[in-house]
Symmetry: C2
């Protein structure tokens, strides 16, 4: 199915929001209600859901159970995804813990670090290997998504290596611009750039 | 100056990239060169720079020193921004360390946590206070940006409290949708949603 990134993002949010309700069998929700809960427009919600083949009932809205089912069929692959975290420092460990706390189809199967002392340890529930073994383990463990939390200096080299080993999706925390082939899906979490963006938009009128 | 968020993001990236070059006085760069380094189009680069009043020389491109100066005048406030991190767990500490390693005009002036043992400690170089003191310290320290790395359960309450105390920009790591007044600049780093987005787009053709 050919869906825009923003739609996928919102579908993921609809699901996460609706999953928080304890009992939803037989319940319905209106697009304007869902929109309000997520600061969107009802038109946006209806368009997203139409793209995955859902249309609401005029009187009752959308059947929540069906909505959750269809979103999951759209977003999830049957076997989920295998993730590796490259860089098991503070940030890598925090991200690992965060993902494992959430119920997802993302399986963190390996962590990599240059620190010999972390070798063959289990950190935050994830086996940790030396960075020299990236190629070997990414292939054997069928890792398809890598989260990069390495030093800026090694970011590009690591990206090249994980891609060569079969990774096709990258979440990049290194604040380094990565040069990747166009078939790789790259998402940047560039904390400094985001803070500068926030800083710009909140400049007080006096300045 | 009225600039779109994406332009600010890119200006921040141009600056960070150009600052990495050791000696740039008297040097020029072409828009297509800058574009290639950041996977953008030359048209995008030229439009961004035109928006801040810069136009390149046809033969030489843009004077790098001037470019850096004008970007900084645009993005930075004179006194920088005062940041607080709410939630000094793994993720909060990692983010703190990450920001402090970079050279920015973002001053992390306080961390907050519910853990009594962190009280009045200096963590990653930042004084840490109890979460009950948020209102007091945010006002006294003139914090204008808050980074939220709290538990999902307390995220909305914390957001309400920092906003009431004067914060106008929020970087939200909690994966919770926050309801904030429209004059607040909110940016979400929703790791789970981003991974699901990546996961969707790298689905193999066989599935």
């Amino acid at each position: 199915m050919n869906l825009p990134p923003r739609t996928i993002e919102r579908l993921s949010k609809y699901r996460r929001l609706l999953k928080k309700y304890p009992k939803t069998e037989g319940l319905y929700i209106f697009s304007h209600h869902l929109a309000r809960l997520l600061n969107l427009t009802p038109v946006q919600v209806r368009r997203d859901l139409m793209l995955i083949g859902l249309s609401g009932n005029h009187r009752k809205g959308y059947n929540i159970t069906e909505l959750l089912k269809v979103i999951s069929q759209t977003i999830d692959t049957e076997q989920g995804h295998n993730l590796a975290i490259v860089g098991m420092g503070n940030l890598g460990r925090a991200v690992t813990r965060f993902i494992r706390k959430n119920e997802t189809r993302m399986n963190i199967v390996a962590g990599f670090d240059i620190d010999q002392s972390k070798l063959n340890e289990t950190i935050e529930g994830v086996p940790c290997y030396h960075i020299s073994q990236i190629e070997e383990y990414i292939k054997v463990l069928s890792v398809d998504i890598a989260i990069l939390t390495t030093s800026p200096e090694s970011a590009q080299e690591i990206a090249d290596r994980v891609i060569r080993s079969g990774v096709t999706g990258i979440l990049n925390f290194t604040s380094v611009h990565l040069d990747v082939p166009k078939e790789i899906y790259l998402k940047d979490y560039d904390i400094i750039t985001s803070l500068e963006e926030i800083g710009f938009f909140i400049k007080s009128p006096l300045q």
